[in-house]
Each structure stands twice: as structure tokens, then as C-alpha cells.
Amino acid sequence: MNDEIDMILGGAQGAGLETTVQILSSAFASSGLGILADREYYSNIKGRHSYVHAKVSSTEIPRSLESSIDILGCMDAETVFTHFEDVREEGYIIYDSSVDDKTQDEIKSLEDPLRERLEDRFDELGVEGTVSSILDHLEEEKDVEAVELDFPSILKELQEKYEMSSSQASRYVSSILIGAVSGLMDLEKNSIEKGIEKKFEGKEKIAEQNMFLVGDVTDMVKEEHGSPLKMEKLGLDEDQLLMVNGNEITGMGKMTAGLGFQSYYPITPAADESLFIEKHAGEENVLVVQTEDELAAVTSCIGAALTGTRSATATSGPGFDLMTEGLGWAGINEVPMVITYYQRGGPSTGLPTRGSQDDLMTALQSSHGSSPRIVLASGDHHEAFRDAVKAFNLAEKYQTPVIHLLDKFLANMVRTVPLPEIESLTIERGELWEGGEDYRRFEDGPISERAFLGEEVMWYTGSEHTESGNVIEDPEKRLKMKEKRMNKLDLADKEMDEDERAIYFGPEDPEHLLLGWGSVKEVAIDSIESLEEKIGYLHLRTFSPFPEEKVLSYLKKADKVVAVEHSYSARVSEVVSLKTGFEIENEVVKYTGRPIYRDELVRSMKDVLSGRVSREVLKHGP
């Protein structure tokens, strides 16, 4: 019996992988297993290779992934070629035996560099290059068991039974994978059934057909291989869980916070959040508006915020660039609005469907001139939810824009999580105008009483202005108003608990320190636990106002400090240096856009802690 299984399921974009994963995850979750699943795909609608890399656990909700896997589920030959080396000793490959003879040359969607590497690798391994030759090799060298399934004939059976065309039947490949995994792991039949019903709600016929196929394949696999990967069934200690990705949980957080207006212009990996909110607008009636571009997204969001509506927009790098002028306007006009910023691989269009943490400086420094902004960053689903709420509270409390940093990893990462503790949340709207004579929007400071458009007469302008919001160029008024605004950040710095802005994980009095933020959080925590050295992880949650004292106190005590980040140059080190003058000398970075795996982080940390290198660049993941 196993308490943890790692797997990759792969296939061509648009060929049904999404369905496989949804049904399986739901089955895992309702069996009381914890799941964490990363989704990797090209900037492509159909045909390119995509895969899901998941960990399932019977003892906890998994926090990070391993580069090697127990199960490789292949919808096609490309998946075999792309991932065969990741299968562990004694692992399993589920595949379509009708592609046994395929070679990589026949797979047009394979990118050239991989093709070349494969050629070299096959030479090295002395493998002929067909799918079957690879499987033979794995069996010999690593005792990997092939779960051979003849997809065409399995589908044929379905086709005949339900009188469908062969092209219709071909859409059911997803269920072959489900069946095979279910067989190997001996999943409960009714948890799979529930998953299928949920997925095909209102389409009973289709659900039935899928169930048939799953059952069929499950039986075949069990018969042939038994259920070697059956999991212990301790289960998690909750009676209700959420199964969500980062886009969804963030959207839930925003709606819980009372979001009333969300503008967006479609962009990966942010758009799904807006679509999620639109779909669930429900009786809260959140108005979600698809604007003509990001210039309009940010400015309409500001306009809405001026009416007292909790307003936000969500975007990623290219869109954010276009929002920076608006951001400055919101700053000088003290507008509480939220930009939910999902980072992806840059620069420019870069790797639009891959993850990155390379926009930290962009979020902190973009937009000319200076005005206060608050920058939060979430490291997991739980933080994303809480930060989504907090962002609005801070925006309204300090009357200033808040940037909430997330990334593609989190956006698309599916996970089982405990229900958010809504009871512990508060909605803080900051200083509001209570009525009276002669309202002046920017009276007193640093925080003025805020009235909404519609309540009083007031003026706003992007130019330097008087307390009334009218343009002024007088030097002394300029000094006063600029200071008023900048002081808000100092106030926030005083009022916001440093312990919430930087969180420490690990042993008391660590010898060394790993420093990170955002979605390196969980792999970092898992990694320090795997290292022999006494090492802790300091997790940055708020970059502006920066928790200088707390961070410095940890940095100074550590023997070696190592920054870990998805970027070329460890932006977090730059920020730390800028804010504290402390120079972090070691870094582990990854900028292929693929997630950091626990084992590669552990390995690189060993290299760094031993002093062999001061910078390590991680590369795993196709």
C-alpha cells in the first residue's frame, strides 16, 4: 500500500486530457485523498503536447511535486517520447499499444530541440527509437511495467456498443486513461462515477458511455497487473474540502470581499479568473466587463472604484505594462483599487502559458514618478484567498492601489484545500465621509475621509492638486500633498504586522536561510525538511510596505542565505538589497517556466550550502 503517488498524464492539447484530470481529481478528492496537480501546456489551442503532473497523497494535502513519477499515462506517442525518462524504478506506463512502432519522426508537433536531444539520447541508450523500444528499455533498465492497451480496439468496442461513429468514439480516449489509473490504484468505483456525473451533468448518455469504458478498462488493467498502486485510505481530516485552482480560489476571495466590478481584457493566465467570476456573479451581481484593451480595463476599474464599488482588474505582464499609466493616476488620486497580477514567462510575449516570478520589480516600480502602492504576493491557494480579501481592505484603508501578485503556476494548479475560514474575515472600508458641509476629498492626511461619487461634489485630477482636487502648481502645496500621499505608506508600514508580511518556516535558530515568495513557498518548505542542514525558509508576503526589520533580522542571523525564485536574476534579492542593503549571495533560479520540483531544489541546495556554487539554474521538466 502506498501513501503517495506521483503521476504525469499527457496528451495533445484539446484531446481530452482536461476531462481526464477533472474526473480523476474529483475521484481522488472524494476518496479522501489530497491532490496537487500542475498543468503544463503550450500557447496553442490544439495539437501541441500538454500534460498534468500530479501528486496524490493519503496522509496530507501535497505541497510540491517530484521530478520522477510512479505512473506515466500517455494518450499518445508524443507523451511517451517526452516523459519516458521520468518514470521511476518499478513505475508504470499506460500507453496505446497501437503506436508501438511510431518513431519521433512521425510526430510533427514535437519541437526540434527536443527531437535533437531525443536522437542523441537514443544513441546513448542504444535504443532504436520506436515507442516499443523505449518501453523495452525501461523494462530492462528500471523494471518499469508497461500497461499496454490497444486504444483503437477498445474504442471500437465502445463504438459498436453505442452505435457511434469512429470519430465520435475517438473523443473517449480520456476514459481509457481514467480506467487504467483507476485499475492500477484500485479507486472506488463510485468516486469515479461521481466525478463523471459532475463532469457530464445533464448529459446522462455520455456519462453512461464513459462509465462503461472506464469500467471496462479498469477490469482489463486489474486483471493484467493487479492494483499495485492501491493507496492506504487514511483520508484527510475534513468533511468538506474545496477542489480548486488558483484562478478560482482567488475569484472566490474577491467575491467574498464584496467585489462589485471587475474589468478585464482576456489574457493567459488571468482571464479564467474573470470568467469564473462572471459565471458565478449570481445574486451578488458582480459586474464583469470585457473591455477593449487593458488601458480601458484599468481606467474603467478606477472609475468604478470612485463610486465606492470594490473594483478590480486581473491581468498578466503585457496587460500590466499597459496599465501602468492608469496605476499612477490611481496613486495620485488615492483610489482604492486592486490589480490581480498573474505573472507568466517574459519578457514580452515570452512563454505566455508558462510560469514565472520575474515581474516583482515591474509590480513595484512601474509607472513614472512616485506614489504609494501596496504589493502583496500569495504563495498558495490559501494565501491567494486571504490576500484577495486583504487587498481590498488595504486598498480602502490606505486609499491606494493594491497589486496582488500571483503566477501561472498557482493559477492553473488544482488542489484540494480546506474550506476558507470565512468567519475570521472582516471587511474594512477605511475612513469614510460621514456627511457635513464643504466636502474636500483630500482634506487632512495622510488618510482623508472618503466620499463616493454620487454622495458629494468632488474633483479628481492626475495633476498635482489642492485638498479639493483642483489642479495646483504651487511649490508648497506640492510638498504638502506629495508628503501626504507618501506618508500613507509609512503609516501602513507601522500598522501592518511584520509577522504577516514575512513568515518564517522551519527550525528555531536556523543555521542557513532560504528566502522566497509566491509559488516557491511549498516546495521550499518541503525542501528544507529534506535537507540535513538546519535551514529555515523565510516567505515574503508583502513587498510594499516592506517588512524590513523582520527580514533583516533573519538574514543577519543566517550563515548562508539562498534566494529561490522563478526568474533569471532572483528579483527578490534585488528587492532585499534595495530595501535593506543586504546582499544575498546565493541563488537557485529556474526560468524555463516549468515548476520547481522538490528533488531538484534539494539537490541544488546541497550544492549551494556546501559552497560548491553560489548560483544554480534548475532545468527539469519538458
Binding site: 485523498l33 462589485g260 459586474l287 488601458l295 470612485l306 470594490r310 474550506l419 461619487l453 461634489v457 479628481y460
Partner: protein, 297 residues
């Protein structure tokens, strides 16, 4: 009773600028409509035209160059009870802001857009604006303009605005009426205001406009688009003013939204009770039911 809508701010425009005519017509229109100052929002871009809100005693949002329309759209969408009027320059609305200009028509959001059509970039010292005809050389230009002019009314027509009119900054009675009609229209309204810039446009002067303006008489604006397009024929030397087009059939943006929106707009909906989210645990679980898993242990 008529109110006074002026403010105490010193007016920055050059003596003789057509903008004086526009702001005074606006005062008069507001008086006659008895606009509530708190419920009225003037949104402007950047330019000489953009300074307008500071001179009018209703709420004013002086935004960014080119972005008055999306700012205004956010305000209006979040609080449809407000009357929202955009003041923009021709550079502001049809140069840097042309994308938003077009997009507003597609939404038919109930906003009046007034364009200060002086055919130059006033505040940056007289460069050609998108309404300056080709080969024209105004004062500050080193050589004649090499870009063609856009025709604002046909562009608005194509974009989907449901109310089109034109007037002249120096004809206060007429302009006042056009402003009123624009405000009263339920949908996206565009008002092209011919505005002399006495400092930089020595060609399209007050006299120039006066000689060419032809007021529409006996023209029922509820016409087919083709007819309107033809009427606006640019080949003639006349400039038509008046209410040119009106379509009351096309639903306005808020009519396109759900019932719930109409009842309680985003700005009017409560979001907390005693500091706790309205969306409490119970509501949360039922709202997001499809994401809730109950493990069978």
C-alpha cells in the same frame, strides 16, 4: 430654480477661446435641466478641453490623455444613477483615445461625449489633431498636415452611438440645446462641438465656422443610417449642425444587463454586515457547491 454651476477656480483658457462658449452653454444646460451636482459627473481627458471639470460645480474627474471614455464608463457602469458627461479634445478622443471612442458605441452606454473640436492639439502648442484636414497648415505647423482628417460624426455613427449632434461653441443657445438633448438621450450620445482655438488655429476660426454652418431644419433625426451618412456628405463646403441622428430602439448598456443589476447596481449593493462579509460561510458553500468535495471516509 436655476442653480449656478460655476466654481471659483481661475479659468486657464486663452482670452477668446471657444471653450468659454462651451462651458457657459454647459452651465445653462445644467440649469435648465436642474442637474443635481452630486449626481452629475464630468469626466475629461488631458488638453485645454480637459480642464473643464474644474470650472463646473458638479463632480469632476480629470483623467488621463485619451482615457476619459473608459474612466467614465467605469463610473457609469458601477453607478448608473449618475449622469456622466465626457469632455474631450479631438486629439484626446480621436487620436490617442480612438479605440475607446469606437468601443463606447458598441456598448451604447448612457454617456454623453462632447468633443472640443478645435482641430489642433491646444495644450501641447498647436500640433495637428485628427480632425485637421490634410494640406492644411495652421500656425504652429512647420509644413502642411500630411494626415487626413477623420470625420467624427460618421465615425460615431459606424461605431454605434445612438445619438449624434453637432454644434458651435459660439452659438450658446444652440449648443445648450444640443447638450440637453445629449444628456436626455438614453444611450451613447456624441456631440461634436466646433471650437475655435484662437491661439493655434488661424484657419478654422469663428468666422470660418460661421460662414459654413448650416443648421438642420425640419430634419427628423430618427432615420436610417444610410440616409444620415449621406446627409453628412463631406464633399460639400457646408457644416451641418443640429440633432443629426437618433436611435431609441437599440437597448442601452444597462438594459442589456441582468435584472439584478437594474435593481441594485454594484455601487449600491451592501458588501458587509457589522464588518463581516455578506457572502458568509453558508452562502459560500452553496454558491460554490460544484467545487466542494465531501470525502467519503
Amino acid at each position: 430654480m436655476a442653480r449656478e454651476y460655476g466654481t471659483e477656480n481661475w479659468i486657464e483658457w486663452c482670452p477668446g477661446c471657444g471653450n468659454f462658449g462651451i462651458v457657459s452653454s454647459l452651465y445653462r444646460a445644467f440649469s435648465e435641466l436642474e442637474m443635481e451636482p452630486e449626481k452629475t459627473v464630468l469626466v475629461s481627458g488631458i488638453g485645454c478641453s480637459g480642464k473643464m471639470p474644474h470650472y463646473v460645480d458638479v463632480s469632476g474627474v480629470h483623467t488621463l490623455h485619451g482615457r476619459a471614455i473608459p474612466f467614465a464608463s467605469g463610473v457609469k457602469m458601477a453607478n448608473p444613477d449618475l449622469d456622466v458627461i465626457v469632455n474631450g479634445g479631438d486629439g484626446d478622443l480621436l487620436g490617442i483615445g480612438a479605440g475607446h471612442f469606437v468601443a463606447l458605441g458598441r456598448r451604447n452606454l448612457d454617456v454623453l461625449v462632447m468633443m472640443h473640436d478645435n482641430r489642433v492639439y491646444g495644450l501641447t502648442k498647436g500640433q495637428a489633431s485628427p480632425t485637421l484636414p490634410r494640406e492644411t497648415q495652421t500656425k504652429a505647423l512647420d509644413s502642411p498636415n500630411i494626415q487626413d482628417a477623420l470625420e467624427p460624426l460618421p465615425l460615431a455613427l459606424i461605431s454605434g452611438y445612438t445619438h449624434l449632434s453637432r454644434s458651435f461653441a459660439m452659438d450658446s443657445d444652440h449648443l445648450k440645446e444640443m447638450i440637453k438633448k445629449g444628456i436626455e438621450h438614453d444611450g451613447a450620445a456624441f456631440l461634436d462641438v466646433l471650437q475655435p482655438c484662437v491661439t493655434y488655429n488661424d484657419i478654422h476660426t469663428s468666422e470660418y465656422f460661421k460662414e459654413r454652418i448650416e443648421k438642420l431644419n425640419d430634419w427628423d433625426p430618427e432615420k436610417d443610417k444610410n440616409e444620415v451618412y449621406e446627409k453628412l456628405d463631406r464633399e460639400t463646403d457646408k457644416i451641418l449642425t443640429g440633432e443629426i441622428y437618433k436611435d431609441t430602439d437599440k437597448p442601452s448598456f444597462s438594459e442589456r444587463l441582468s435584472e439584478g443589476y437594474k435593481e441594485k447596481s454594484p455601487s449600491q449593493r451592501p458588501i458587509e454586515e457589522d464588518g463581516a462579509p455578506i457572502l458568509d460561510k453558508e452562502k459560500f458553500v452553496s454558491k460554490f457547491e460544484e467545487f466542494v468535495v465531501e470525502p467519503e471516509l
